[in-house]
Structure formats: structure tokens, C-alpha cells
């Protein structure tokens, strides 16, 4: 009953003209920027973060979540029409989406993607409500030891699951943790790595790092060449899937939604893995699996539903525990902190209006997206034909404005500039940026909780292994490390065997 009443209250907040407008603007810009090849959800949110400056926290986060969903949808558009996935989660969509586009069914692929994403968004948001609330109340039992163990587990999952190389992901995370140490430390307030630069006392600002790594870094990679995209034309009349198409996809959408949500809840796993799992399952249950890769509509519907539902799943650890499960939610966590909010269990008791408005906005955002996207797909597709050299200067300008407006200081533009170069080379050398960003956000929390846990236990390190919840989390972490070790050994062994043969 409480949940229902709170949700109604959330709808009261979101259904004001201003908040509805913010959700619409977020959906629109999220889709437009997300459509640009190579720019994923994290980059889109980072680039558009300045648009929320000056707003109240609720409206700002309503806009951010709308951007998040919009960018996911925009990413599918490029996968289907250009065969260029905006990020990992859209890779699977290229398999059958682009094949459908080449067969003249690009509009249908985009249409079913919009319908699947909408259904998954709604299912995922219901999942979020029913998992997030009990989890948030359960995590009220967490003390510093539990938080420390949870952060360690969350970070390791992200590292182990994401990226091509575990070593590079770990390096990225260590660099993020190191950057998080800059400024006054949590124990004695001693200034670390400040070198007489007064701005560094408060640490390195998260927003400037994110905009540099994701915004400037991605734009630099795209601006290397005079980029030309070959798009497949879409006409409005070709856009609507037939009843047959929808019926063929209904189970794929449902399965994708459930898988997406469940996988999305796990830190690090998220949209990419869920879309691959969904594709695998659809292929497995299909009567004729050979259709997959040749333009099977279930191959678009399932993964698209999964990656959208995973967005709702990824909000669970963010809202209930204050732990981001992906690069995009790390950016959102940073944004929340920027607005003076601390995600985690207390958010549900201290700022229930905010939390429920945000959850209600996910329902509304998904409805806005499907209403906006179905008729506007030809327009969005047209934007792909807009030469990239017209697009990157305004993106750079928005990033510059965003960095400057953090503290009204040119210093932040310089910080972003440095991280822009850093982000470019990280991309070139396949070092994932998400672990760095997540570690930068979680690093100070990690150190603070470590210190507090040890202070409360009078320096007894066994506190992490004797408290039941903390011990369970540590055991899971240990099992993950062992599993990773065996996986590495096995793959090395099979490589050697291949060499011998």
C-alpha cells in the first residue's frame, strides 16, 4: 500500500508541465546524441549533464533518466540503420537489425525496437519498485564494514565482467582510485597529491573527468576522420510492424525484459551481457535458428527489450545501495551528488518525494519515448545523414560550458582538457573508462568506510569476515576471484594446446 501511495505521489510530482517538459527534452536530446555513432549512454549523459544545471534535483534527475533511456534507444537506431553500435549493448542489434534494414525492413526493426524497449521499460520499472524498496530497507542494516565489502564486490564485478582485458580494467580502476585520493583525506584531512594547487584540496571534480573522458574523448575519436555514414532510408509508412511482427516478437520481448532486469541488477553485468544472453536464448528457442543473423525479428526484439530493461535493473544498486553498476549509472551518481543527494538506503527515508518522482518518471519517460520515437524515427534517421563535422563543434561547446559552470572557473576546462586527451588514448589502447569513473566515485567511499569499520572495531580487521552480511559479500568476492583465476588458467591452457596441435 505504501508503495502504491508513494508511486501516486511520484506521479503527482512528475505530471507537472515543467517536469513533463524536462522528460520530453531529455528523451529528445538523449535520442539525438545517442544516435551519433560511437556515443554510448555514458557519453550522452555526460555531454548533456550541463543542460540540468540550475534545475532542482528532481527535475534534473527526471531529465537525466530520460536522457539515459533516450540514448539507449538512439544507440539502437545506429545499429539498425548504419551497422555501427553506439556501445556494447547495441552490438547484438546489428546482427539482425541491419540485416532487416538491408531487406527494406529497417523501419519495422526500429518500430519493434521501440515497442520492445517500451514494454521492457515498463516491466523493468515495476521490477525496480519491487526489488529496490525491500533492498533499500534491508541495506539499512549495513554498517561501514558491509559497505566496504559491498563496494569491493561491486567494483570487482564491474572489472571482471566489463572490458576485453581484466588487467586493463583493473589498471583503469586503480587509476580511478588514485584520482579519488586527490585532496583532503578521509582520515586526518591531510592534503594528498595537491602540490600547492588550491583547487585540488576539494579533489578532482567528477563532472569534469566524466565530460573529458566520455565527452571530449569520444568526440576526438569520431573527429579523427572526415566521418561519413551510410544510412539506410526509412519511410514513415514502412515503420509500423504488422500484427504478425508483434505476435512473433511478444515472447522475445517478455523474455528479454525479464532477463534484462535480472542481469541489469548485477553490478557490471548490465545491458551488454543481458542483450547477448537474450539473443542466445531467442536463437535457442527458435524453431528455425538459421534465420538468426539473416533478419529475424526476435533477434532485434529480445536484445532490445533486454538492454532497455537492464537500465531499470541498473538503477536498483544505484538507488538502494548508492553503488553504480555501470558507467552510465556512475555518471548519474555523480550528478546526484552534484545536487547534494546521497543515493543509498537513506534516500528512501530522507527524500522519498525525489525517489518516487524519479521512479514515476521512468514510466512517463518510456511512454514519451515510444510516442516520440515511432513517428520521429525517419527524422532521427535523417540526422544520421547530417555530416558529423557540423555536429562535433556544438558537442565540444556544451562540454566546455559544462566544465566551466561546475565552479565558474577556467581551471575546470583545463581539467576536462587533460582528461579528454586521457580518454582519447584510453579508447585507442582499449582501456575501459567505466572502471575509472566508478572507482573515482567509489574510491573515497571505500576509504572512508574502511577507516570507519576499523575504527569501530578498534582496528580489528576480522570485522569484515565475522559480520554475517559483510562475510557473505567477501565470500562472493573471493569466489569471483577464484572463478576468474580458473577461467584465465583454462583459457591459457587451451591456447597452449591449440599451439601444440
Amino acid at each position: 500500500m505504501d508503495i502504491f501511495a508513494n508511486l501516486i505521489q511520484g506521479f503527482h510530482t512528475i505530471l507537472t508541465p515543467y517536469n513533463l517538459w524536462m522528460a520530453t527534452v531529455g528523451c529528445f536530446f538523449g535520442t539525438i546524441i545517442g544516435i551519433l555513432p560511437g556515443l554510448g549512454a555514458s557519453a550522452t549523459i555526460a555531454i548533456l549533464l550541463p543542460l540540468t544545471f540550475g534545475m532542482n534535483a528532481t527535475s534534473a534527475m527526471i531529465m537525466m533518466t530520460a536522457i539515459y533511456y533516450g540514448s539507449k534507444y538512439g544507440g539502437s537506431t545506429t545499429s539498425i540503420l548504419v551497422n555501427v553500435p553506439g556501445e556494447g549493448a547495441s552490438v547484438v542489434t546489428t546482427f539482425d537489425g541491419y540485416a532487416m534494414a538491408r531487406q527494406g525492413r529497417g523501419g519495422v526493426a526500429l518500430g519493434i525496437s521501440a515497442i520492445g524497449s517500451f514494454a521492457a521499460g515498463i516491466i523493468g520499472t515495476f521490477g525496480l519498485i519491487f526489488v529496490c524498496v525491500p533492498l533499500a530497507y534491508f541495506s539499512l542494516k549495513f554498517g561501514p564494514a558491509e559497505y566496504f565489502s559491498l563496494i569491493v564486490m561491486g567494483m570487482l564485478t564491474i572489472i571482471f565482467v566489463g572490458g576485453k582485458s581484466v588487467v586493463k580494467s583493473l589498471i583503469s580502476a586503480v587509476i580511478g582510485l588514485s584520482l579519488g585520493m586527490v585532496g583532503a583525506d578521509a582520515v586526518q584531512g591531510a592534503p594528498r597529491f595537491v602540490y600547492g594547487i588550491p583547487q585540488l584540496i576539494d579533489g578532482i571534480d567528477f563532472v569534469t573527468v566524466v565530460m573529458g573522458l566520455f565527452g571530449i574523448g569520444e568526440v576526438l575519436v569520431s573527429a579523427e576522420e572526415h566521418m561519413k555514414t551510410k544510412t539506410v532510408n526509412v519511410k514513415f509508412k514502412d515503420l509500423w510492424p504488422t500484427v504478425r511482427d508483434v505476435l512473433d516478437s511478444k515472447w522475445a520481448i517478455l523474455r528479454g525484459s525479464v532477463i534484462g532486469f535480472l542481469v541489469g541488477v548485477l553490478p557490471g553485468a548490465g545491458a551488454t551481457i543481458s542483450s547477448f544472453i537474450s539473443y542466445g536464448i531467442e536463437k535457442g528457442v527458435a524453431k528455425d535458428p538459421s534465420r538468426f543473423g539473416q533478419g529475424a525479428i526476435e533477434g532485434v526484439a529480445g536484445p532490445e527489450a533486454a538492454n532497455n530493461s537492464a537500465c531499470s535493473g541498473a538503477m536498483v544498486p544505484l538507488l538502494a545501495l548508492g553503488i553504480p553498476g555501470s558507467g552510465a549509472t556512475a555518471v548519474m551518481l555523480g550528478a546526484l551528488m552534484l545536487y547534494g543527494l546521497r543515493p543509498g538506503p537513506m534516500l528512501f527515508t530522507t527524500n522519498p518525494d525525489f525517489v518516487w518522482a524519479l521512479i514515476a518518471s521512468m514510466f512517463v519517460g518510456n511512454i514519451i519515448l515510444v510516442i516520440m520515437n515511432l513517428p520521429m524515427v525517419p527524422l532521427f534517421a535523417m540526422s544520421l545523414r547530417f555530416p558529423y563535422h557540423y555536429l562535433y563543434p556544438p558537442i565540444l561547446m556544451i562540454c566546455i560550458v559544462g566544465a566551466f559552470s561546475v565552479n565558474n572557473s577556467v581551471y575546470d576546462i583545463w581539467v576536462m582538457w587533460i582528461f579528454g586527451i586521457f580518454g582519447y588514448f584510453m579508447k585507442k589502447y582499449d582501456i575501459p573508462a567505466a572502471p575509472l569513473v566508478i572507482a573515482l566515485v567509489l574510491g573515497p567511499m571505500l576509504e572512508y568506510n574502511l577507516y570507519r569499520a576499523l575504527a569501530l572495531s578498534l582496528g580489528d580487521i576480522s570485522t569484515f569476515f565475522t559480520r554475517p552480511i559483510s562475510a557473505t559479500l567477501m565470500a562472493i568476492t573471493g569466489l569471483m576471484i577464484i572463478a576468474m583465476f580458473f577461467k584465465a588458467v583454462r583459457s591459457k591452457r587451451s591456447m597452449l594446446e591449440e599451439e601444440e596441435n
Partner: protein, 153 residues
């Protein structure tokens, strides 16, 4: 890729040594637990181990398809990237002196003129449209206080 990974491993090794040396300036332990020097010290150690693993890996593993692809683009593409960053640095230098609108206008105009080979007139026109629009959205509508230059704008 292997060469790139080796360079990366060496950079990380340097970073690791620097972290360890810096950590020695702080107390390793406090009254009940870690002091300010604890985290940098261990991060330095972990980074050192990771860089060794990365380095060793480049010698042990078999070269794959990815290893034969160049990681960095050609000089022309690098030049484009370098020029964008140079123009952005120029913008940062001139931001307070020339003011927001003028620096943004110059930034866009120079990008379009030098990198995209637009005519000077077309570049300037695009510069005016973009700097004006961005100012309207962020300066006027969102009321962000941008610096005003010596020209009074």
C-alpha cells in the same frame, strides 16, 4: 597492440613508483587503522603488479589479429585531434580575457576553417550561429554567468 601494451606497462610502472614514493610522505597507520599513506601505498603496489602482468603478457601470449592493427591513426588524423585540442587550449587561455561569446565564436570558426576547410565566410557564419545559440541556451535561459571580455560581450 603488443608494443602499445608495453608502453602502457612502462607508464603504469612509473606511476606505481610515484604513488609509492608519494605515500611515504604520509602516515601509513592512524590510531585504529589505515592512515593517509595506506591507500596510495597499496594502490602503488597493485599498479606495479598489474603493469608487470601486462608486460609479461605481451611476451607470453600469441599475437592475435588485433595485435597487427595499428592502435593510433595516421598522422593526418592525429593532426586533426591535436588541432582540436590546441584550439580548445587557446579557448581556455582566452576565455576570461576575450569573453565567452568571442572565444566560442573563434573556436568554432577556426575549427570549421582549418579542419573542415569551409570558406572563411561560412565558418564565421557557423561560428556566429553556434556561439549565439549556446549563449542563449546557457547564458540567457539557464542564467550561467559567463565571463565578459574587454570588448564588453
Amino acid at each position: 597492440m603488443k608494443k602499445g601494451d608495453r608502453v602502457l606497462a612502462i607508464i603504469c610502472m612509473g606511476l606505481s613508483i610515484w604513488l609509492i614514493l608519494e605515500s611515504l610522505q604520509f602516515d601509513y597507520l592512524s590510531e585504529f587503522g589505515p592512515g593517509p599513506g595506506f591507500e596510495p601505498f597499496w594502490l602503488g603496489i597493485i599498479l606495479g603488479i598489474l603493469s608487470v602482468v601486462l608486460l609479461v603478457n605481451t611476451f607470453v601470449r600469441q599475437a592475435g589479429e588485433e595485435d597487427h592493427k595499428p592502435r593510433l591513426p595516421g598522422m593526418a588524423a592525429l593532426g586533426r585531434v591535436g588541432l582540436i585540442m590546441l584550439l580548445m587550449a587557446g579557448l581556455a587561455f582566452g576565455f576570461n580575457t576575450l569573453g565567452f561569446i568571442v572565444t566560442m565564436f573563434l573556436f568554432v570558426t577556426l575549427i570549421m576553417f582549418t579542419l573542415e576547410h569551409f570558406s572563411i565566410l561560412k565558418s564565421m557564419l557557423y561560428g556566429i550561429v553556434l556561439s549565439g545559440s549556446v549563449y542563449l541556451i546557457f547564458g540567457y535561459w539557464m542564467e550561467i554567468n559567463f565571463p565578459i571580455g574587454f570588448l564588453g560581450i
